[in-house]
């Protein structure tokens, strides 16, 4: 048995390998269910019934899809360019911070405040990620490390703000900011938590970035930098410029996700762990699954949203431990990254 490199894997192979990896992940998690004393099929059925076959379930899936979609489209672009941004969580938080800052302290006409909050959020996320790109370009600091570390800085910044200068007036010792005014809250689908403007924004961004990547000169340059840095240098494409551009885009979309979470759901700046539920990390799987196609995130984000919402159903309906969702995402990422090998190599039996 040996591995044979494939110079040009077909798109079909990529789809097949991804589906197989997903199938393997579902089978492995099924094994976990079984070990827990649940029939895997029964567990999966419960998950689907509580999400897709239930109107309340749909709204939960959508609510979780929104941040994953926004972050995922940016990350898929970044991963394509081989800029490994692991800091979407921090960029989301920075977006939330700037959006909250605008909402709490900038007196604006009501019609302008939501757009201004969104803009500030995108800017916050972009700058946070841009910092990592700058460090990479200037000092060759690995962006995996800096983006990851900046997550913690962002968390501490949020805690400092809501614990100190931005602390609300009637919070009784808890740490969060004052509540936003009505006109600073995103409209939601009636009776749900689905802030639809952000969802629409995510869909538009997915399509726009897909166009950018495959139908524009800039996109071509980004792809060359990602696929063959040597060729990019030979062609005179500045690598550092490409990194900065993707960093600003991926950070910006993550910042927008932060805007959606606080203007759509929480309506105040709250503790980092409550604010985001780890969307910045879960979106890494979303982006990886999309294999560098921002438009495909339109499929992979709802899939992960389904798993997050389905995990909640398992928690409520079958009293499974809350870590089940983490097991799910962990096994999935493991299978996906493990499958990468079979994308570029063929297994030959002799």
């Amino acid at each position: 048995m040996r591995l044979e490199p494939l110079p040009n894997p077909s798109p079909l192979r990529s789809v097949g390998v991804t589906l197989l990896a997903l199938g393997l992940a579902f089978a492995l998690v099924g094994g976990v269910f079984w070990a827990y004393g649940l029939g895997p099929l029964e567990a999966y059925r419960t998950m689907l019934e509580g999400t897709l076959l239930d109107p309340r379930g749909w709204q939960e899936v959508l609510r979780r899809t929104i941040p994953l979609l926004l972050i995922g489209v940016g990350l898929s672009l970044a991963f394509r360019t081989q800029f490994y941004n692991i800091g979407a969580e921090g960029q989301l938080l920075l977006g939330a911070v700037l959006a909250a800052g605008v909402a709490l302290f900038l007196p604006l006409p009501p019609a302008l405040s939501l757009p201004a909050m969104a803009l500030a959020a995108a800017l916050g996320g972009a700058l946070w990620c841009g910092l990592a790109a700058w460090l990479k370009n200037r000092l060759s600091v690995n962006e995996i490390l800096t983006t990851l570390m900046l997550n913690y800085v962002a968390q501490s910044l949020v805690i400092y703000l809501i614990n100190g200068p931005w602390r609300g007036k009637d919070v009784r010792g808890y740490i969060y900011s004052d509540r936003f005014a009505e006109h600073q809250q995103l409209p939601v689908l009636l009776g749900t938590n689905v802030h639809w403007p952000t969802l629409a924004l995510g869909v538009v961004l997915a399509l726009l970035l897909q166009l950018l990547l495959f139908r524009s000169t800039l996109g071509f340059r980004l792809r060359v930098v990602g696929e063959n840095p040597g060729a990019a240098r030979y062609l005179g494409i500045p690598q550092s410029r490409a990194f900065l551009v993707v960093a600003l885009i991926t950070g910006g979309t993550a910042g927008l996700a932060g805007f959606g979470e606080i203007a759509g759901i929480h309506h105040r700046l709250i503790e980092p762990t409550q604010l985001s539920s780890g969307y910045g990390f879960t979106a890494i799987i979303v982006a990886w699954l999309a294999r560098g196609h921002p438009a495909l995130v339109l499929l992979t984000a709802p899939l992960m949203g389904l798993i997050l919402a389905g995990g909640d159903v398992l928690k409520v309906a079958l009293n499974m431990p809350f870590r089940i969702v983490d097991v799910f995402s962990g096994v999935m990422l493991f299978a996906l990254i493990g499958s990468e090998l079979f994308l570029h190599y063929r297994l030959r039996l002799r």
Binding site: R56, V171, R172, G173, D312, V313, K315, V316
Partner: protein
């Protein structure tokens, strides 16, 4: 004729009511995992005890619910047939009120909050008296005069507990300090460990805490530093180092509430003023390293040897703890740690002589007692 008809209607109505209550389903929304060995674990133990104690009661729980997900969780629970929903964290307060408005026929019970509605009551098993007793012991056992305290959030509950603890420490050792580190989390073993290690490194030779894990006890024991059990029997994690502690038994409250729902005393219309504030007298809280062990025998000699002055007389700390513990368990306790005169740590008189703090004042307490060292957010100047 008319009255008889009315009676008939009433009887049918009552019959329906009873039939409904016969299959009582109580659901619990927890803020942490049931395996936290702290707060959530204690609530879950009580849930199971209530299920055993009340015939016809079924229960369900959801663990580690984020406040933002509360409403969605309530939606699912109500759809699953819950008539009574307990939300067991202060963090759920506003969302519980919102849910109570959305489902006016479901009874909601919110732990440790202060907002109520016709179908939403509040309940709390409070430790402040017990904390004072633990403070006495900490004051007697510290050699460096520095007592460490790992605290979750600077909310009134914690300020009350830390202050009661500090009053106890200072009653024995007037120069001792209680050094507080906030970790801003109920469940975060990593932060709790870091805070404990920092406190010990700064010279604190005994530690207490208010957060939902046993981390402080385990970390302190590794450094041979004594500590106090919190919420549940944590004696087993460090039998040589757990001095005493504060233990809770939520089941007495849950059983009382659910029985009154079952027999019709509580309806979704009359809970506006129902607030449980249960202490040692109701057996909702206990003193102990574990249930049935108020003081770890390993520390008894030292506590019997240590003395303090009470009303001009010298008594052993051990006797004083036992005397006060007996008093607060009696039907009419005479003693309370927050009896005036009490000044806050900035010297402002907070409780005038001869007066006790009311439950409302305790619930809204923002100041801290003398001896507490470290930044305290929202402290009145």
């Amino acid at each position: 004729m008319k009255t008889r008809l009315l009676a008939l209607v009433a009887a049918i109505g009552l019959g329906f009511g009873l039939a409904q209550q016969a299959n009582l389903k109580a659901c619990f929304i927890y803020v942490g995992p049931i395996g936290d060995v702290g707060w959530t674990y204690a609530h879950d133990e009580a849930r199971r005890a209530a299920e055993k104690a009340i015939p016809g009661l079924t229960t369900q729980y959801v663990e580690s619910v984020k406040p933002a997900d509360t409403l969605a969780t309530v939606d699912r629970l109500v759809a699953g047939g819950c008539n009574v929903i307990f939300t067991t964290s202060f963090d759920f307060m506003d969302q519980t009120l919102e849910a109570a408005k959305k489902y006016p026929n479901v009874i909601f019970a919110h732990a440790s909050g202060f907002k109520r509605a016709p179908n939403m009551l509040t309940y709390m098993a409070d430790f402040y008296q017990i904390y004072y007793l633990n403070g006495l012991m900490a004051g007697a056992l510290t050699k460096s005069g520095k007592v460490g305290y790992v605290a979750a959030f600077p909310i009134p509950e914690l300020k009350r507990h830390i202050s009661a603890f500090a009053l106890g420490v200072r009653a024995v050792n007037p120069r001792a300090t209680v050094n507080v580190k906030w970790i801003n989390a109920w469940y975060d073993p990593v932060k709790a460990r870091e805070a404990t290690e920092a406190l010990i490194a700064e010279g604190n030779d005994i530690v207490a805490f208010t957060e939902d894990t046993a981390t402080v006890i385990q970390t302190a024991a590794r450094r041979r530093v004594p500590s106090f059990s919190h919420y549940n029997s944590m004696y087993k994690y460090a039998p040589d180092y757990v001095v005493s502690g504060q233990l809770v038994d939520w089941s007495v409250i849950y059983i009382d509430i659910l029985k009154k729902v079952q027999n019709g005393t509580y309806t979704p219309k009359n809970l506006e003023n129902v607030d449980y504030w249960w202490l040692a007298r109701e057996r909702a809280v206990m003193l102990g390293a574990q249930v049935g062990m108020p003081i770890n025998p390993k520390f008894e000699p030292a506590l019997k040897q240590a003395t303090m002055v009470v009303n001009g007389k010298r008594v052993s700390v051990y006797d004083r703890v036992m005397e006060l513990y007996k008093d607060i368990q009696s039907p009419n306790p005479k003693w309370d740690p927050f009896t005036g005169p009490i000044r806050d740590r900035n010297g402002v008189l907070r409780v005038p002589a001869g007066r006790k703090m009311t439950v409302k004042e305790l619930n809204e307490m923002q100041w801290v007692a003398p001896g507490v060292v470290g930044p305290v957010p929202d402290e009145p100047k």
